[in-house]
């Protein structure tokens, strides 16, 4: 705490003094008077005033993270990296992504830099730390009022300071829906007419998807892994069921933290190759691991089939 305070004071001294913001409209309860204008430090070591430099006049997507998080938060960040991809070109211009650490004692700017690079975060995405009491105050105001790290808020916050609108959302729903919610924070975007086309789906139901593992993969694996499209936050999983022993794979999918702790050589190799972020333990049950392995196997097989010259039927799909 003492060290954090001193860091905070140093940061305070370095902070630029800005003119106080003009009072907001009376209906805007959540503006300059609500968000602290305290100093925060970015992953690049730059000190900003939280309200004036990070929030004021902007549309923001705020999440809460800590880089030592053993479970769900890397997935939150990975899902936001998918959002960043889908919002390509407007992040940093119209929309700003903010990941607030809830562990400012350990999350130094350098640590946040490494973490952000693992997710390929671009310039419109700030990872913020600072003096612990400042960060706690800011997070409290943003709705993270957790008493322990593990209780921290897994929701995200969407805000538009210009209009005073703030709302909760989640990265664990449909990402395309989330994109609409994010873009709708901009009144100008809302004013544009986008009429949905007639859709036969409005008249029909669907049978149950019988491919085990596909939905789970999409939800909790795809944010970091591809099958056959290359490394992302973690390795490309094409052929992983052939490369690795099945029992090892099942065990690693469920408890990668334990594999690392017992210094499993493959786990350590992965840590060396992907140093910024470690695969979290996502509470995956044995049945789910089995489904995921089946899905990986099936996807790999279908890719392999498609590329086998002996099967001309499939070849033309790739021309």
């Amino acid at each position: 705490m003492r060290r954090g305070l001193m860091a905070g004071l140093a940061a305070l001294a370095a902070a630029t003094v800005a003119a106080p913001a003009a009072p907001d409209a009376q209906s805007n309860r959540w503006g300059a008077d609500y968000f602290p204008n305290l100093p925060v430090v970015t992953q690049d070591g730059k000190t900003l005033n939280f309200y004036d430099d990070v929030i004021k006049g902007k549309i923001v997507v705020v999440s809460f993270i800590y880089t030592n998080c053993p479970d769900i938060c890397p997935l939150t960040t990975a899902r936001i990296s998918q959002v960043e991809d889908k919002l390509e070109g407007i992040v940093g211009r119209d929309i700003f992504l903010i990941s607030m650490t809830v562990d400012p004692e350990r999350d130094t700017p350098a640590r946040l830099k490494e973490f952000s690079q693992a997710f390929g975060a671009g310039p419109g995405w700030l990872f913020l730390t600072g003096a612990p009491q400042d960060i706690r105050l800011i997070n409290t105001r943003l709705g993270d009022r957790s008493r322990t790290l593990s209780e921290h808020r897994n929701e995200i916050i969407l805000g538009n300071d210009a209009t005073g609108e703030w709302q909760r959302n989640s990265v664990f729903g449909d990402l395309d829906r989330l994109l609409i919610d994010i873009r709708s924070m901009d009144p100008a975007w809302r004013d544009e007419v986008r009429q949905p086309k007639p859709d036969e789906a409005s008249n029909t139901g669907y049978p149950l998807d019988l491919q085990p593992g596909r939905t789970l993969f999409k939800k909790i694996c795809a944010p970091c892994h591809t099958i056959g499209v290359g490394d992302r936050v973690g390795p490309d999983l094409r052929g992983v069921t052939e490369r690795r022993d099945r029992a090892w794979l099942a065990s690693f999918i469920r408890r990668p933290d334990m594999a690392r702790a017992r210094r499993d050589p493959i786990a350590l190799e992965l840590v060396a190759k992907f140093p910024g972020v470690h695969m979290p333990a996502l509470g995956i049950a044995e049945n789910d691991a089995t489904d995921l392995i089946a899905y990986l196997q099936a996807q790999t097989a279908s890719l392999n089939d498609a590329q086998t010259p002996a099967m001309p039927d499939h070849q033309h799909h790739h021309h």
């Binding site: 709705g143 449909d174 395309d176 949905p196 008249n203 017992r262 049945n287």
Partner: protein
């Protein structure tokens, strides 16, 4: 000290009133370098724990009443108002309009349900007007008349959101209401300032009308299906909300037996300028299975003329005290708090709301005799809730509070601590907890401060088999309804009794301890909502609510009865399937490192919203908010166990569409008011378990199962249940696509279906669940 009492010193109060400003100013001054942290230390305002744990400045105790009570405001100002100085408003009764079937040669309108011509309302129809808009996007008659963009009706287009079994439950009664900014001069107490139009959003009668308080009351009867046409008359700009609330709405008729398209809870909010036609079917559960020929007179509704209209279904499934409220995902808490709710009493042959009519079926519970059914002279809806107000007296809500929002002002029917005049006779009270996060525990104190015995007759709108004598209710969580009968006949004119809250709560996540009646009556400095919240004044005459102009006297006999048997028990049977739903617990829950050791210390493990086990199989990780429980076939009896794995929180969990019969609470005690009693909201209790029997039928589609602490609900303690129990061949017998409302219309996405654990392989199980091998198509008009 948690709440600041209004007896606190003036200096202390002023300090607290200014706390928020002070914090903001200090923070600003710090950041501008005008003061230093050293100054703050010197002034004693900063400690190593953070800013100002004294003088009400703690930024982490955002509440005004201080540590741990997260309301985010200073104590609500009372403007000199004393308790029990205003009469309790009775709910705002809505008047139905008769609907008639359109016999037209034009197939587009044949079979529509027409409102009286004088209303100028277009008829209600099976398919949404959005369907017409999609087909004719430039035709102005199908466009939002206020914004000029998007469809006139918010109900999604096509067969998936067509009213199921339209002809079978053809609507006979129509209501037209609007959700609008509150009417001028609406006050929570005459001393309080009038609420600004966008401080409160509530329902009012008519098209594009203003909102009114108290909330609405609708009287529904079995055998008379209803169309409720709800207009969204909120500001077009969603920023015009006075700090909280979203101008997009969907009205959920809490647990009524309706098709998913009218449940109001499946991602179907609609926008200012549009309406949504909810068809409240009055379907009596099990109608496809029990008493299908409608020969049992107990399964019936009042005909309005001292007779009965028999309906198919199981009379043991009759519902009574219900409510409806907003269900806009991520905004439910703030919208409901802002006034987006009302109550619905369902009347049946047995529970008719007439205490005199003796037809062998009518239970003659206290109600009144002036109307054929639905008398409320002695049958009173009581909505208990809490609220907080800004220093200027406007309704306040902290949208950044995720633990659960608590207010410091008790409200009954949205009025601050009112009084009610009663005759010395029996009364029925239908008590609803409509708070966001507050649990109540209510008792009645006589003039000497002693507990009054009363009869408990219904839980969540379901009659208990035998009335239960009590002197204090069980805890009551958000959305729970308790019906009781209180006999005032032994009190004399002039006596005053009080409804008393005995449960202290200072944390939005769960209540503290129950206080004794004496302690509660003495008031509680930690929680201003403890104590007396409503005063009953025994008087010699009262004006009739049912027939204005008539006066009711204490000298008239009380013909009402509380029969020893109210209904029959639905037996617990061997289930087809069992499910275990564990809320707030991750995977295997093992946070230890390898070798069972914690190195260097046991890591914190984030809690996923829930896990689900079916038929005792391995748990599947249900760690996302778009999961589904599949219910394969109408009429399958299942036993569900809810486990609160989240430790210290309490969650009132609500299952939509069907009630469950409460079987046990694991190894814990179960109160008589729950044992074998049907419910739709269960308080899990911290670390608790509850098991119940459930079956679904008559309708299908997408429903939800969620925590009814609306703040938690918005946090994603919500799972989707897909009922494949719709009419065979209809989309509601398969997985339905997910609607996504936008101002320009609804678009659909394919739901992500997560597997469930089974004793057999998933594939075998899911294949068995789905008979149809391919994507299904509709079969025209059901």
């Amino acid at each position: 000290m948690r709440y600041l009492s209004h007896n606190a010193s003036r200096a202390r109060l002023r300090e607290a009133q200014n706390a928020r400003n002070n914090r903001a100013e200090i923070v600003k001054a710090l950041s501008l370098g005008q003061i230093t942290r050293r100054d703050l230390y010197k002034w004693g305002l900063l400690t190593f724990g953070g800013l100002a744990l004294k003088n009400g400045l703690s930024p982490f105790a955002s509440s005004a009443f201080a540590d741990g009570v997260p309301t985010g405001t200073p104590p609500s100002p009372l403007f000199g108002a004393q308790k029990f100085t205003q009469p309790m408003p009775r709910l705002h009764l809505q008047t139905p309009f008769p609907l008639t079937r359109v016999a037209s040669a034009d197939p587009a309108s044949a079979g529509d349900a027409a409102f009286p011509t004088s209303l100028g309302e277009r008829p209600a129809r099976r398919l949404s007007y959005h369907t017409d808009f999609t087909a004719h996007p430039t035709d102005p008659q199908f466009k939002n008349p206020i914004t000029g963009r998007g469809p006139i009706e918010g109900r999604p287009p096509g067969e998936v959101f067509a009213h199921q079994r339209w002809n079978e439950f053809f609507p006979k009664a129509g209501y037209v209401m609007s959700l609008g900014p509150i009417a001028p001069n609406t006050r929570f107490h005459p001393n309080f300032p009038a609420q600004a139009p966008n401080s409160v959003w509530a329902y009012g009668a008519g098209r594009f009308s203003q909102g009114t308080l108290p909330p609405f009351l609708i009287k529904v009867r079995y055998g008379e299906p209803v169309i409720s046409r709800i207009y969204n008359n909120l500001p077009v700009s969603r920023a015009n909300n006075n700090g909280f609330g979203r101008n997009e709405t969907q009205l959920h008729f809490h647990n009524a037996h309706n098709g998913a398209e009218s449940d109001g809870a499946a991602n179907v909010h609609h926008f200012p300028g549009t309406f949504y036609d909810y068809r409240w079917s009055t379907t009596l559960a099990r109608r496809d299975k029990i008493n299908t020929q409608a020969t049992d007179r107990r399964a019936s509704g009042p005909d309005g003329n001292r007779g009965l209209v028999n309906v198919a279904g199981d009379f043991r499934e009759i519902q009574g005290t219900m409510w409806a409220h907003d269900h806009r995902f991520f905004f439910t808490a703030e919208n409901v708090y802002k006034g987006n709710f009302g109550m619905i009493n369902m009347y049946s042959g047995p529970d008719r709301g007439n205490e005199s009519l003796n037809d062998g079926v009518n239970l003659r519970l206290p109600s009144g005799s002036l109307l054929d059914f639905g008398n409320v002279d002695f049958d009173v809806n009581l909505i208990v809730s809490d609220a907080a107000f800004s220093p200027n007296g406007q309704l306040f809500f902290d949208i950044f509070d995720t633990d659960g929002f608590l207010g410091d002002i008790p409200l009954v029917n949205m009025a601050y601590a009112p009084f009610m005049e009663v005759l010395p006779r029996k009364y029925r009270f239908r008590i609803l907890d409509a708070s966001m996060s507050r649990f109540f525990q209510l008792a009645i104190a006589d003039p000497n401060g002693n507990a009054v015995q009363f009869q408990f007759i219904a839980n969540d709108g379901n009659l208990v088999v035998n009335p239960i004598p009590l002197t204090v209710l069980d805890q009551q969580g958000t959305a729970e309804r308790y019906d009781i009968v209180v006999d005032f006949s032994k009190y004399k004119i002039g006596d005053r009794l009080h409804l008393v809250n005995r449960l202290e709560q200072t944390d939005g996540r769960l209540p503290n301890d129950e206080l004794s009646l004496a302690q509660a009556l003495a008031g509680d400095q930690n929680d201003p909502v403890v104590g007396k919240i409503l005063q009953f004044r025994v008087v010699g005459s009262v004006p009739s609510v049912d027939v204005p102009g008539v006066t009711l006297f204490s000298t008239s006999p009380d013909p009402s009865v509380v029969p020893a048997v109210l209904t029959q028990q639905i037996p617990i049977v061997t289930p087809v399937r069992t499910r275990v739903v564990e809320w707030g617990r991750s995977g295997d829950g093992d946070s230890r490192g390898p070798n069972g050791q914690c190195i260097p210390d046991c890591p914190d493990t984030a809690q996923f919203p829930w896990t689900v086990k079916v038929n005792g199989g391995e748990a599947h990780s249900m760690n996302a908010n778009r999961i589904q429980l599949l219910y394969p076939k109408a009429g399958d009896v299942e036993h569900w166990t809810y486990i609160n794995g989240g430790g210290g929180w309490d969650h009132p969990i609500h299952l939509h569409f069907e009630e469950g019969i409460t079987m046990n609470r694991g190894s814990d005690s179960i109160p008589a008011t729950e044992k074998l009693v049907r419910k739709d909201v269960w308080r899990l209790r911290p670390g608790g378990t509850v098991q119940f029997q459930i079956q679904f039928g008559e309708y299908g589609g997408s429903y939800v199962n969620h925590c009814h602490n609306t703040v938690h609900e918005d946090f994603a303690l919500l799972m989707r249940i897909q009922l494949l129990s719709g009419v065979a061949g209809s989309p509601q017998a398969s997985i339905t696509p997910t609607p996504n409302p936008t101002p320009d219309g609804v678009f659909f996405t394919t739901p992500e279906v997560l597997p469930e654990a089974t004793t057999s392989s998933n594939q075998a199980q899911t294949s068995a669940l789905i008979a149809n091998p391919a994507r299904m198509t509709p079969t025209g008009n059901p």
